[in-house]
C-alpha cells in the first residue's frame, strides 16, 4: 500500500472499530480471560448443536441399563460414552441438554437484570431528587432481603403455577430466572446510576437539553451508551453468578425442576449415591465449575481491557 492509501485508511477507521481493536488486543493479552472466552465458546457450541447429533432424547430411558459406566453398550446395543444415570438415561445427552438450560438461565438472568438495573439506574441518576431517593430506597430494600430464604419460599409458591404460553417443563426455569433477576438488578442499577450522575453534568448532556432533546432521548442515546463498558463487564460476571445460584437452589431442591435437567439438579440428584457412583456428580460439577470460572475470568479480563483504571 502507498503512504496515501495508508493515511486514507487510518482516516476511515471509526472510533468503534479502533476501540474494539484496542480492547480486543488488551483482552487477549489476559491469558486466563482468553482461556475463559474459548471455554465459553466451546461449551456454547456443544450445548447448542451437540444434542442434534445424539441418538437419544434426554428423557429416553433404557430399562435395565441403569448407572452404566463410561464407554459402555447397553443390552439393546446403544452406546453411551459417559454411561447412563439411575434411570438408564444417556448421561452425555442429559449433560448437553442440561448445559442448554443452565447457560440459558445464566444469560437470561444476566440480560434481564442488566436491562432492568440499567433503566432504573439511568433514570434515577439522571433525574436525581425524589426519583433518585425513592429508587435508591427500593434498591436498599431489595439488598436487605435475605435472598436464600426468599428464593426458597418463592420457588415453592411458584413451583406449580401455570404460565400461559409456556410449556409445563419450562415453568420452573422461567420462575427461577425472574426471581434471580428480580433480586440482582440492584448491582447494575447502582453501577449505572453512578456513571450517569457524572455523565449528566458533562456539557454534551446540557447541549442536548439546550437543543430541546427529550430526557428519554438523552438517557437512551447519551447516558446509557456512555455507561456501556462497565455494564458489559458486570453482565458477563452475572452469567456465572446466576449459574451458581441456580445450582445452589437445585441442591436444596428448589431450582429448576426435573425432568428438565440442569447441571445443578443433575449434581444434586447424584448426591444420593455419590460414594458409589462419583462420576454422576463429577460431570455436572466440573461443568458448573468450568462455566462459572470462565465467565469470571472473561469478565475480569474485559474489565481490565475496557478500562485499566476501572475497579468495581
Amino acid at each position: 500500500m502507498t503512504v496515501a492509501e495508508l493515511q486514507a485508511e487510518a482516516l476511515l477507521t471509526t472510533e468503534e472499530e479502533s476501540q474494539f481493536v484496542v480492547i480486543w488486543r488488551r483482552f487477549i493479552r489476559h491469558r486466563m480471560a482468553l482461556l475463559g472466552l474459548i471455554t465459553i465458546s466451546i461449551l456454547l457450541l456443544c450445548v447448542i448443536i451437540g444434542p442434534v447429533f445424539m441418538p437419544y432424547d434426554y428423557t429416553d430411558q433404557v430399562k435395565g441399563a441403569q448407572r452404566l459406566g463410561p464407554f459402555s453398550t447397553d443390552h439393546l446395543g446403544g452406546y453411551h460414552v459417559l454411561g447412563t444415570d439411575e434411570l438408564g438415561r444417556d448421561l452425555l445427552t442429559r449433560l448437553l441438554y442440561a448445559g442448554r438450560i443452565s447457560l440459558a438461565v445464566g444469560f437470561a438472568v444476566s440480560f434481564l437484570e442488566t436491562i432492568l438495573g440499567m433503566t432504573v439506574g439511568a433514570v434515577s441518576g439522571y433525574y436525581g431528587g425524589w426519583t433518585d431517593t425513592i429508587a435508591m430506597r427500593i434498591v436498599d430494600l431489595v439488598l436487605t432481603i435475605p435472598s436464600l430464604p426468599l428464593l426458597l419460599v418463592m420457588s415453592i409458591i411458584l413451583r406449580n403455577v401455570e404460565i400461559p404460553g409456556i410449556p409445563r417443563e419450562w415453568t420452573s426455569v422461567v420462575v427461577i430466572v425472574v426471581i434471580l433477576a428480580g433480586l440482582q438488578w440492584t448491582g447494575p442499577a447502582r453501577l449505572v446510576r453512578g456513571m450517569v450522575l457524572s455523565l449528566r453534568e458533562q456539557e454534551f448532556a446540557e447541549a442536548s437539553k439546550a437543543l430541546g432533546v427529550s430526557d428519554t432521548s438523552i438517557i437512551f442515546r447519551h447516558m446509557i451508551p456512555n455507561s456501556m463498558a462497565p455494564i458489559i463487564v458486570s453482565s458477563t460476571l452475572a452469567v456465572g453468578g446466576a449459574i451458581i445460584v441456580e445450582s445452589v437452589l437445585s441442591f436444596l431442591g428448589f431450582g429448576v425442576q426435573l425432568p428438565t435437567p440442569t447441571w445443578g439438579n443433575m449434581l444434586s440428584n447424584a448426591r444420593t449415591d455419590m460414594l458409589m457412583y462419583p462420576l454422576l456428580a463429577l460431570y455436572p460439577g466440573v461443568l458448573i465449575f468450568l462455566a462459572v470460572l470462565s465467565f469470571n475470568f472473561a469478565g475480569d479480563g474485559l474489565r481490565d481491557a475496557i478500562d485499566p483504571r476501572l475497579k468495581m
Binding site: 456539557e203 439546550a210 432533546v213 427529550s214
Partner: protein
C-alpha cells in the same frame, strides 16, 4: 424593551450546600445574585469576570438548564420562566449555547453528524436525507468538511471540536447564542480564527451573542457592550469603548490595568488587587468588592451599592461613583 431580544431582570441563582447525615441545606452558594441586563437584536454583550464569579451559571439559568432561584428573563418578549415545556422546547430553537470545553461538549460515543443533527431530529425538522444535507452544509460553513460527519469527536483537534459545537448550535438557526468561553480552552493561535468565524456568522445570520470570557481582551473586539461580573453580581455595564476608555468601577479599572497596551505613551498604572476572591457561599457584607477594593471607605463595608445608570448607558455599582 421593544428592541430588546433578551431582558434579564434581577436574576438570582443560589445552589444549596447540603451536609450532615440528613443532607439538610446548610448554606447557599450565591452563584448569581441579582443580575440584570438587556441585549438588543444583533448586538453582542460581553460578560467578563474571574473564574467562579457566576458567568456560566448566568447563561445556564437563562437557558433553563438549571432552575432559577428568582428573577425574570424575557426572550423575544416571552417570559421564559413561565413557559410550559412544549413552548419552551419550541423556543429552544432560537436560543442556543456554545460551551467552553471542546472535550466534554461532544458525546464521545456519537458520530459528529449525529450530534450536530440531534436538535433537528428532536424538533422533527426534515427527513433523514435532508438532515444529512443540512449537517453537511453547516460543517462546510464552520470550516470543516462534509465527510467529517461520519467521524467521532476524538478524531478532531480542540479547535475543530469547537467548530462542531458551533455547527450544532447553528443548525437550529437560532436568534441568540450564549457563547460560554468558546475560545478559552484553545491555543492562542487558533483563538482568533474561531472568534472570526463567530463574527462572520453574526453578520451573515443576524445573530445576537452573549459572549462570556474571563478576560477583557478576548471580548474587546467582538463586543458592543460589556458587563463585568464579580462574585455573582454585575458591577459595571457599559458600551465597549466607554468601558475601556472610562472605566468607573475600581474592579474594572484593576482588570483593565492588567492588560498590556502596545502604545508606550499611553501606559496605564498597574493596579494589583490584594487577596483572593471571597467565597460565593459566604460573600462579604456591603459591597462585595470591599475586601479587595483599593479605595474602599467605611460605608462600603455596610451598604450594598445599587447597580445604577450613573452616566447615560453606563451602569455601575459603586458608592464612590457619582451619578451624573
Amino acid at each position: 424593551m421593544k428592541n430588546d431580544l433578551l431582558v434579564v431582570e434581577n436574576l438570582v441563582k443560589y445552589f444549596p450546600i447540603r451536609g450532615g447525615i440528613l443532607q439538610r441545606v446548610q448554606n447557599w452558594v450565591r452563584a448569581v445574585d441579582n443580575v440584570s441586563f438587556t441585549i438588543k437584536k444583533g448586538e453582542t454583550l460581553g460578560l467578563v469576570g474571574e473564574s467562579g464569579c457566576g458567568k456560566s451559571t448566568t447563561g445556564r439559568t437563562i437557558l433553563r438548564l438549571t432552575p432559577q432561584t428568582s428573577g425574570k428573563v424575557w426572550f423575544d418578549n416571552k417570559d421564559l420562566f413561565s413557559l410550559g415545556s412544549s413552548e419552551m422546547k419550541k423556543i429552544r430553537r432560537d436560543l442556543q449555547i456554545i460551551f467552553q470545553d471542546p472535550y466534554s461538549s461532544l458525546d464521545p460515543r456519537m458520530i459528529v453528524g449525529e450530534s450536530i443533527s440531534e436538535g433537528l431530529r428532536a424538533h422533527g425538522i426534515g427527513t433523514p436525507q435532508e438532515r444529512r444535507q443540512i449537517v453537511a452544509e453547516t460543517l462546510v460553513r464552520v470550516g470543516l468538511r462534509a465527510e467529517h460527519a461520519r467521524r467521532y469527536p476524538h478524531e478532531f483537534s480542540g479547535g475543530q471540536r469547537q467548530r462542531i459545537g458551533i455547527a450544532r448550535a447553528l443548525t437550529m438557526k437560532p436568534k441568540l447564542i450564549i457563547a460560554d468561553e468558546p475560545v478559552s480552552a484553545l491555543d492562542v493561535s487558533i483563538q482568533s480564527t474561531v472568534l472570526n468565524l463567530l463574527d462572520e456568522l453574526q453578520e451573515e445570520m443576524g445573530l445576537t451573542y452573549v459572549f462570556i470570557a474571563h478576560d477583557l481582551s478576548v471580548v474587546e473586539h467582538i463586543s458592543d457592550r460589556i458587563g463585568v461580573m464579580y462574585l455573582g453580581k454585575i458591577v459595571e455595564l457599559a458600551p465597549r469603548d466607554d468601558l475601556f476608555n472610562d472605566p468607573q468601577h475600581p474592579y474594572t479599572q484593576a482588570l483593565l490595568s492588567s492588560i498590556p497596551i502596545p502604545n508606550p505613551h499611553k501606559r496605564r498604572k498597574r493596579i494589583i488587587l490584594e487577596g483572593d476572591v471571597p467565597s460565593a457561599s459566604n460573600p462579604p457584607p456591603g459591597c462585595r468588592f470591599h475586601t479587595r477594593c483599593p479605595v474602599a471607605v467605611d460605608r462600603c463595608r455596610i451598604d450594598m451599592p445599587d447597580f445604577e445608570e450613573k452616566i447615560a448607558g453606563h451602569f455601575t455599582a459603586c458608592h464612590l461613583v457619582e451619578k451624573i
